[in-house]
Amino acid sequence: MLRQLAATSLAFGLLLTVVARSETSRRPHFGGTLRVEIGARVGSLDPGVPANFEEAAAKEQVLALIHNHRNRDKTYEGAGPFRVSVWEPGKSVTLAANGDYRGGRPFVDSIEIRMGRSARDRLLDLELNNTDFAEIPAEQARHASERGVRVSLSQPDGLLALVFPTGHPAAENARLRESMALVIDRVALVNFILQKTGEPAGGLLPQWTSGTAFLFSTSADVSRAKELFAQIAPSPRLALGYDSDDPLEHSVAERIIVNAREAGITATLDAIPRSGRAVRDAILVRWHMESAHPRDALAGFLDALHAIGIDAGEPCGALPDAASPEQIYDCERSMVGTYRVVPLVWLPDVYGLSARVRDWKVPASGEGWPLADVWLDGEAE
């Protein structure tokens, strides 16, 4: 009898202990190291050192963690929530929590960022709980979710577009550009290649920020494309360039080739190394909105287009800071109407999170990862 009573008392005591610990772990608390994996290899944290698209994006995220503020000229100032404690260029960086940060000390003691991890490795590490935070390619978001990974998606603020740079004979043919714009099945791109992660793009701004995206057609019109292409003599061949290190661009480019064949357009793929992106008749380009504000986002796109030799033209040239929605729409329409830029799909940023990451909020467009606000659930760890 006594033995039974003692056992029952012990069991009850253990139960109380577990419940108490469980309640403690669900409250924000300091401590722990947040493990982050990124695909890029950041060689320098100096903003002035040039970097490719992927490396620049990763560098901005790190700089946003160690600085307080980013100016409009993309310079950083002030001490951020973290400071660099260990820096191995191209391999890893360890950020320690800055207790003097004016916004308050971050919950986590440190952030350990491993660089150069492939998407496959990042996904595996998320599945195996070897990392707490990693970006996931949009086309793998569904697959990751099906495999049990905790997935967080931003608003679709990344644009994948087909651009016809000036100066190339095939690209100078407006009928060919229009034919290509009409023949691409954007819905299929979203449904099959992006596995329904993203939206078909018809304009230069997404629906969620401009509210006018629905005015731009995203459906394919193969018959019209055939008609237009038939008017071109002699039939040109189109060389389509894409980032050789970007699987998504490769898949999309292949699909565009298939669509183009349907209209009788002979197009060939041309993988371009990321280190030296040469210009072809047409190239696939990915842009990320620098701001959630339509005017700023559009201005960013126009700047990017200008960088590759495409001028925006009259409606966009006088785009004021306080441009009206009509002005923004006109600019978009004029740009899209030239078929120099053929928007394809809007892509969200997809993040994979471990189960112990708490209070994660999806950053707005143009903002850095809010890792100073997350805390790590000890139980989950």
Partner: protein
């Protein structure tokens, strides 16, 4: 060309032709056999390919059926059979499944023929494949060749289709293996053989579509005629391609068409066999044949030489014997054994020469007797004339002595005078014979023949127009610039005198005496012709004209023309006579500029004139008699 040489070349030619024909025959037969072996070799390779093709034809359906039977595929089919199914989740499935089953091509195709997932061209999702939804019993069809579109362009594939049926909806699983360089590399080919595959995927011949185990074939353009023929008329064909001018670089190709489901030409398998070994072997055989030919020729030449020598030796002996007989050695014998025709001929030859020798000896004996008789007759005749006066004179003297006549002294004086005179005659007769027997050797000096002729004619000028005698007209045709010859002018003068005297004797009724000298540049001889217009000679007379002591005259000694011939012969010349009855007689004398050989001796009685041309009817020709000579001499003295 000698008989032996003819035989030798005939044997050699026969031997060469025989050996050449045999060598050519061996080479041709060997080449045909090699080509046949090569053809069989190619067919064996094609059979191997077909076997491999068949094996894979069985493997591919097995793999595809395995995929169709897999749990994941069945689940996919079940999921797709639902109304609101999401096909996009399967868009990337085909590639992994294809890799797992080692298939190059794999397509999951929905009930309406839309591609759900494609391993060979992932971006082709959503597009429809019409042929797969057409009514066909895919379970009954094992595998087939077809043209497959991929992201790298069209490809030739060995395909199979399986169907997963859920309710009234089908999920088609189409998979296959590419027929490309990997397939060619998997073929086990013997050394010197290679397999090429032409993918008939374009409307025109494309060199890039011709591949071998390592990739695009080199010099693919060279295959255009073969492929074009195959495209126009699919079937097994052969051709040979010479990559360089060297025949050893050639390859023979055996083409086999690869047909699709509708018997359309989708490709050509080209099995190439290097001709290097065959050509090398043929060349070895050729060289061996040439060596055999060479050795055969050498042996043949030697054998021909030996055989020709063996066959012609008795013939050569016979020919030599005949030449010796022709040269006068009538006693020649040929030593040839054997009982064949040549032996019989040799025996007949020997018998003939023996008979010739015997007949010649008999003839010589007869002629010798006849000559001696002639000499005796001449001597008797010559001596009888002076002896008769001697006898008469002596008898007169005896008779006068017996009668003791007062006139004895006178008779004695006259008789002794006659005796002395007749004895002188006898001495002269004996002296002439003696002179003939002791003809002097010519003393050579530079002599102009024209001068000699002129001096001879001048000597007889008085007699040509003598009173009481029919006139004889001398005609001289002496060539100007006649070269001088080395000769004895005295002897020539004497010989020409003799001929002129004979001509005068031949023209008792007068006539024309023609003397002509010419220089024959071709042989460098001078020629003298002395012709008369007399009665001519018979051929029999011509034949014996130069025989010593032969004469038809009453007072002739028969030594005149013999002396002429002796003189001409001593000068290395020739004399001949032409005569025609009623027309006249011509003597032709050819004298060299310089005698090559020193004259030897007086010709025997059996010697014939060197050249006798005696056309019938013959005329009499006689050497001038000594009496006529003496008369002439006396006339000369008187003149």
């Amino acid at each position: 060309m000698t008989f032996r040489a003819k035989l030798f070349w005939a044997f050699t030619l026969a031997m060469t032709l025989s050996v050449g024909l045999i060598a050519t025959g061996v080479t041709v037969v060997a080449r045909r056999n090699f080509e046949e072996l090569n053809r069989q070799h190619s067919k064996a390779l094609v059979a191997q390919f077909q076997q491999e093709f068949k094996r894979r034809s069985q493997d591919v359906p097995h793999h595809v059926q395995g995929i169709a039977d897999a749990e994941a595929t069945v689940r996919m089919a079940i999921d797709l059979s639902r109304t609101a199914s999401d096909v996009s989740v399967y868009v990337n499935d085909a590639r992994g499944v294809a890799q797992a089953h080692q298939l190059d091509f794999l397509d999951f195709i929905g009930n309406d023929g839309s591609i759900i997932s494609s391993a060979e061209w992932p971006a082709r999702f959503g597009y429809k494949i019409d042929w797969i939804t057409k009514p066909e019993d895919w379970t009954a069809r094992s595998s087939f060749l077809m043209k497959v579109e991929t992201d790298r362009g069209p490809a030739l594939a060995l395909m199979a289709v399986s169907v997963v049926r859920v309710g009234d909806r089908n999920l088609y699983v189409a998979g296959g293996e590419q027929l490309g360089k990997e397939f060619l590399a998997s073929l086990v080919l013997p050394a010197g053989t290679r397999a090429l595959l032409y993918l008939n995927l374009d409307p025109e011949f494309q060199p890039a579509n011709l591949i071998d185990a390592s990739g695009p074939a080199e010099q693919a353009e060279r295959f255009r005629p073969l492929v074009e023929r195959e495209r126009q008329q699919p079937g097994e064909q052969e051709t040979k391609i010479y990559w360089t001018a060297d025949a050893a670089s050639a390859e023979s190709f055996y083409a086999m068409p690869l047909l699709g489901r509708q018997n359309e030409l989708l490709g050509d398998l080209l099995v190439g066999t290097s001709q290097r070994n065959v050509v090398t072997l043929e060349r070895r055989i050729l060289w061996l044949a040439l060596g055999v030919v060479a050795i055969g020729l050498v042996i043949g030449l030697l054998w021909s030489w030996w055989a020709a020598a063996r066959v012609t030796r008795p013939v050569r002996k016979l020919a030599e014997g005949a030449r010796e007989v022709a040269a006068g050695a009538w006693g020649t014998r040929v030593n040839v054994g054997g009982s064949d025709e040549i032996g019989q001929l040799a025996r007949a030859f020997n018998q003939m020469t023996q008979q010739l020798t015997e007949q010649r000896e008999r003839l010589i004996q007869t002629e010798r007797v006849a000559a001696w008789r002639e000499v005796a007759r001449r001597l008797a005749h010559e001596l009888k004339n002076p002896l008769f006066p001697l006898q008469t004179t002596v008898e007169n003297l005896q008779r006068a002595r017996a009668q003791n006549s007062d006139q004895f002294e006178e008779v004695f004086r006259e008789s002794t005078g006659i005796l002395i005179s007749e004895i002188e005659n006898l001495k002269k007769i004996v002296g002439r014979f003696s002179d003939f027997a002791r003809m002097p050797q010519p003393e050579l000096g530079s002599v102009n023949l024209n001068d000699v002729v002129r001096s001879v004619v001048k000597l007889f000028e008085a007699q040509f127009g003598a009173v009481g005698r029919p006139p004889i007209t001398p005609e001289l045709h002496l060539e100007d610039g006649l070269p001088a010859i080395q000769a004895d002018a005295t002897l020539l003068h004497r010989a020409f005198e003799n001929l002129v005297l004979n001509a005068m004797d031949a023209m008792p009724a007068g006539g024309v005496l023609m003397l002509r000298t010419t220089h024959r540049h071709e042989d460098g001889e001078v020629h003298l012709e002395i012709s008369d217009t007399g009665m001519g000679l018979t051929p029999e007379e011509c034949a014996r004209l130069f025989t010593p002591y032969y004469t038809t005259k009453v007072h002739g000694t028969g030594l005149g023309l013999a002396i002429v011939q002796s003189v001409v012969s001593d000068h290395g010349g020739r004399i001949s006579v032409e005569s025609e009855t009623g027309i006249g007689t011509s003597f032709h004398i050819d004298l060299p500029l310089k005698p090559a050989v020193r004259p030897v001796s007086f010709p025997s009685s059996a010697d014939e004139p060197e050249e006798i041309k005696a056309p019938p009817p013959a005329k009499t020709f006689e050497a001038p008699s000594e009496e006529r000579q003496e008369e002439h001499n006396e006339a000369q003295k008187e003149a």
